[in-house]
């Protein structure tokens, strides 16, 4: 029987030099073996989807603050946001700032907000570039982006900063939903082929506050979000390692994206939480990849 113990799992990851603590919760370095597994899994995703001919982009881990504001992120997830602040003052204010820092006093109020925020969702950077009319058949983009969520936790699968292998589909509602359903099965098959006990379920985002309960309930009722789950730190509450979101017209109307028939485009995205998938593999098969089952090894190290 698999035993679930968050502290033991974290300590095991550290002991095997898979992760390197950096002194703050939800952030850690990744060792070479951890990265090798992560890159090989990402490679499998690329291989599996190569005939889909997605456009490939890379974005930095920051986005324009205006994008965050326009997509209503601060209405839905103010508790998760990470805005970048910097110092805009003159010499005397800099001296005062320095004094406060060295005296161990709070200094955040001496900074001002910049034009950028840490990117909280791997798909966000690409939507502004879709503005206009998409070609017949829509578009498909893939990215590997670092994302930020302000949710420090001692639990290793809950990170403040992590990578997501993302796909974004834009098109008519039928095109987008068909693509999402195809990937839901494909994602499950991929994880199952690696020996992970994966299953999918309807899900909701962690919206803020009591009002957020309405948003979460609505998302579930309308089946707008699915997750693929694998037990990593608990059997009862398995960890979401892959998530599928159907946004309907949310981004299409925000960024004026249209299909050739003149209608507002629909979008959907899916993201593999790469660190979580790697951790699910270590949890399921053990901390030493040399000892993993043959089938999983053959897929990752063909």
């Amino acid at each position: 029987m698999t035993e679930y113990d968050t502290d033991k799992f974290y300590e095991g990851l550290v002991k095997h030099r898979l992760i390197i603590p950096v002194g703050v919760q939800g952030a850690f370095g990744r060792g070479a073996v951890f990265e090798d597994v992560l890159e090989r899994f990402n490679g499998l995703v690329s291989q599996l989807s190569k005939d889909d001919r997605a456009e490939v982009y890379t974005f930095p881990p920051i986005i324009s603050r205006s994008v965050l504001e326009r997509v209503n992120y601060l209405d839905s997830f103010p508790h998760l946001c990470g805005a970048v602040y910097s110092f805009f003052g003159k010499e005397l204010q800099a001296l005062a700032l320095s004094k406060r820092v060295h005296d161990g006093e709070p200094w955040g109020d001496m900074l001002g907000i910049t034009d950028v925020v840490l990117n909280p969702a791997a798909c966000y950077p690409v939507y502004p570039s879709f503005t206009g009319v998409v070609p017949k058949g829509g578009r498909l983009v893939t990215m590997l982006n670092w994302v930020y969520r302000h949710e420090p936790s001692p639990e290793p699968t809950r990170m403040q900063s992590f990578r997501v292998r993302e796909f974004v589909r834009v098109g008519t509602p039928a095109e987008v939903v068909e693509w999402r359903d195809m990937w839901l099965q494909r994602g499950l098959d991929l994880l199952t082929s690696l020996g992970l006990p994966a299953r999918s379920d309807v899900a909701s985002d962690p919206f803020f506050g009591r009002g957020g309960k309405i948003l979460a309930a609505g998302q579930k009722e309308q089946k707008l979000k699915f997750e693929v789950l694998v037990p990593v730190i608990s059997a009862e509450n398995p960890t979401a390692v892959c998530s599928f979101n159907f946004h309907q017209e949310h981004f299409g109307s925000t960024f004026d994206i249209r299909t050739p028939d003149g209608n507002v485009a629909n979008t959907a995205c899916l993201g593999f939480g790469l660190e979580r998938i790697v951790m699910a593999l270590f949890k399921t098969h053990g901390f030493d990849p040399e000892l993993w089952p043959k089938e999983a090894r053959q897929r990752l190290w063909p």
């Binding site: 209503n72 209405d75 839905s76 009591r210 009002g211 957020g212 309960k213 309405i214 948003l215 309930a217 609505g218 009722e221 309308q222």
Partner: protein, 85 residues
């Protein structure tokens, strides 16, 4: 629930102020679908908070769902229930 009772009037005013409807709240029937009339999910949260303030009630978790806020009639029924009416 008729159009002239005070609770419905208050609900219509809250919908006008917070519902971001594409139609005039006064032109909607009691059973009209507010989401179809342009109310977004985020607007429904604002409507919920405004209702709590106006009627001095607090929606319990099991009522924090889309269907409770989908028409003037269902909002009226929920408010009535919470007021012990």
């Amino acid at each position: 629930m008729t159009a002239i009772d005070p609770m419905t009037q208050k609900i219509r005013r809250i919908l006008k102020d917070h519902g971001r409807l594409s139609k005039d709240a006064d032109s909607l029937g009691a059973e009209s679908d507010l989401y179809e009339a342009g109310m977004t999910s985020h607007a429904s949260v604002n409507v919920m908070l405004a209702l709590e303030g106006e009627f001095n009630i607090e929606f319990p978790d099991h009522m924090l769902k889309r269907s409770v806020f989908d028409s003037i009639a269902s909002i009226g029924a929920a408010v009535g229930e919470l007021q012990g009416g």
